[in-house]
Amino acid sequence: MSGLRWKLSAAIGAVLLFGFLTVSNFASEEQRLASPLLPDGGLRLGLDLRGGIHWVLGVDLEEAEVQELGFWADTLRSAPDDGAEFRVSEVRVTDGTLRVSVPSESDAEALDRWVAPSGALDAVGEGGGTERVFRLSDLSAEDARRRGMDQVLEVLRRRIADPVRGIPDSVVTRQGQDRVLVQIPGGQIDRSRARELLAVTGHLQFKIVQGAGESVELLSAEYPDGLPEGTEIASEIDKESGRALTAYLLPEQPDLTGDYLKDARVGFDTRQRPIVEFQFNTEGARRFAELTEANVGNQLAIVLDETVYSAPTIRSRIGARGQIEGRFTSQEAADLAVVLRSGSLPIPVEIEEERTVGPALGKDSIDRGLRASLLGLGVIVLFVLGYYRLSGGYASLALAANLLLLLGIMSMFEATLTLPGIAGIVLTVGMAVDANVIIFERIREELRNGKLPRGAIATGFSKAYWTIMDANITTLITAIVLFEFGTGPIKGFAVTLSIGIVTSVFAALVLTRLMFALHPGTRTVETLSI
């Protein structure tokens, strides 16, 4: 009997431990932190239950290669000035290739010698004479894609999932080759604002204003022969009405960019209106000082993503600090500061998949899931009690223990519970009883064949053993396949189903068996209530 006692204590211990883990999920955050006994983590709720935004973003890594080619085009253009031994007539980037025209064949040979050592560009056959065609070598293309992906992840993390200033509990992770998974738990940010965080590429530029007019039309009318070379028109837009205010004639190439920013934060002007204050790093401060010194009296346009935010007149030389005024609300100012701080998104991203659940639906799903689980549990318990009486009571106890084990294990691994996950639990409740039914029916059959209760129980359990194993292993196989292939909430179904299968088998084959072993009247047919 000592073997039985040992098994019994182990089983009760396990159920108590996991039961405790299950119950501790109901403790509040403060209680968890205050008590040394309560675990810090626990069951997490999926976004479909909590409400929240789930995005899979596609990153256009082709663009990273194009940008890398663009970098080489710039390098080649300036190479002669930087001491290279060749002259360049024209450099173009087309269809993923870099076309370089040079004045003479000797320049072309010098160009070849200059390009070869870097290993970044491969010559393509088409070129000849005074033209050379290159494309990125596999190695540097690979490198460009990797760097592009890293940058996108970095920027999005800083904007969304920064541990200090980001949105609490949000997640930004890489998914596959060229995708980013963004999860923002509910109620903290609405969908269109979150979209804004993604959308704004955060390309901050400073340009000296060369002309201004009341509207784009009026300003362009001043240049009947077309805009002066290297300039463009951009408008200041009123945030409230969306109307274009003043139009400015600006140089195409920025005089200074936001790449030199060190920090940006929300501040207030003298009339307590929100503004964005920024600070340059050392190099940026030096350049900004030079620029402002040379242009005192001129207007400086602060351009973010092609839109002029403000164009203050430079009164004196400015060093490291500046500010952007743009009739912001405090929210807009805060968002802009985040975007400036995180730097620009080097490659555009596109939402490829979205699963956004409002808080109301999430709460509704929890209620309904809970109700379905309890109802299912109730129906099943009534069914086994009615059909198998005392033995049904054992099965019900085993079922309750099974649920504690299932939820306890999930809490231990800090697994995520989703609505399909709840469906998996309900299914587990139904299937867990299957194992008991298989055992009990077998015991009944053995009793009918004249076996004594003790023998019938032993035979019942042993004959049912492999049947139960087979039946559950096949279901486990499909659950694992689903886990491998499934995405999002559906994965939660695979998780609860897999764990539920393991705990069900344990509950039926170990726990119910122990209860029968403890059964006081296993000696006579009359007292075996099955």
Binding site: T307, A372, F383, I422, D434, T474, L482, I490
Partner: protein, 353 residues
């Protein structure tokens, strides 16, 4: 002691195998007709791609499908007609909008009854997301504004969007998952049951999947990830009953050296009938609870799974054993199969017993 199947029940299941064959073939054919002709196999947005928006209004809001359909068409949804379904039973009207094609850029907002300032704000966001400055205005945002203005404050319950690339991938992965699940189970069954039993189990398995899917198509259920999860679970679960019966057949074969196969099969099915029915009833009752109170989101799963369990119970009783008989008769000698042939699983079972 209450028993749903009285001891000594001897229903001649095998003798009625032809009826079962006709029923199954009829169901299969009906499923095929439904899938390839009418009403046709329908994919949800998970597999077909598209946008789905579930929205709820305050009680007493004057709104119907037609109104929302008009608004959607005005605000850049190109599908004609836009799919709008009213659902839910609460006094707060709930609708599900579904569309696949949306207008590009500012064209979406041209006729939409919303403030120009709001449109400008959306435009700014979307244009900035694209370096060429030609972003698409988010139709869901636009529509939300339009509904707020023209109908009443909408509560957006859920927004799901699946892009074409993701839809293709999910479809491919879904098929691959089904194929892998069947393959692994096939391997497991062959391993556990010997080649003699495996084909019957696989026939029953494929039968269950096809017929369940066929019934779902006939009911007009859309195939999405939830239904896929249910079909996968059915692949795993439908074997449960078959395994119970096959285990018993093997056991009965081992009892005697000489027997009439049809008699053994019939006896085995009858002996396990209460088990087969009870396990299905228990799982089914849990699923029916889910179907009834689990809510809109989980309903397709619960429905698919419930149907699958009923079909699985039918097939393990009427299809699995006859398939075994058919295979034995056409491939082997049919009679006098001896327990010794029962295969590799036997050793394990003996040990367990």
């Amino acid at each position: 002691m209450f028993e749903i199947v009285p001891p000594g029940t001897r229903i001649d299941f095998l003798g009625r195998r032809h009826i079962a064959l006709v029923v199954s073939l009829a169901l299969l054919a009906a499923g095929m007709v439904a899938a390839f002709w009418k009403p046709g196999l329908k994919f949800g947005i998970d597999f077909a791609g598209g946008t789905e928006v579930a929205v709820r209004f305050d009680p007493g809001t004057d709104v119907d499908e037609k109104r929302l359909r008009e608004l959607a068409s005005l605000c850049g949804v190109l599908d004609d007609p836009v799919s709008v379904v009213r659902y839910g039973e609460t006094e707060r009207p709930e609708f599900l909008l579904r569309f696949n094609r949306v207008a590009d850029g500012a064209a979406a907002a041209e006729e939409c009854p919303v403030d120009a300032a709001d449109v400008a704000r959306l435009e700014e966001v979307s244009a900035a997301s694209n370096p060429t400055g030609e972003g698409e205005i988010d139709v869901v945002d636009l529509l939300t504004l339009a509904m707020a203005g023209a109908v009443g404050p909408p509560e957006i319950l859920r927004v799901e969007y699946v892009g074409p690339r993701v839809g293709d991938e999910l479809r491919r992965d879904g098929l691959a998952a089904m194929a892998y699940a069947v393959l692994f189970i096939l391997i497991y069954i062959t391993f556990r049951f010997s080649t003699r039993f495996a084909p019957g189990a696989v026939v029953a398995l494929v039968h269950d999947i096809l017929i369940t899917a066929g019934i779902l198509v006939m009911l007009g259920v859309e195939f999405d990830l939830r239904v896929l999860a249910a079909l996968l679970a059915i692949i795993g679960y439908s074997l449960n009953d078959t395994i119970i019966i096959y285990d018993r057949i093997r056991e009965n074969m081992e009892l005697r050296t000489k027997f009439d196969l049809e008699d053994v099969l019939n006896r085995s099915v009858n002996q396990t009938l209460s088990r087969t029915l009870l396990t299905s009833v228990s799982t089914l009752s849990a699923l029916l609870c889910l179907l009834v109170v689990g809510g809109e989101v989980i309903r397709p799963f619960a429905l698919a799974m419930s149907i699958g369990i009923v079909v699985g119970t039918y097939s393990s009783t009427f299809i699995a054993a006859p398939t075994l008989l058919f295979l034995e008769q056409s491939l082997g000698d049919g009679h006098g199969g001896s327990g010794a042939k029962a295969g590799s699983g036997k050793k394990a079972r003996k040990k367990a017993a």
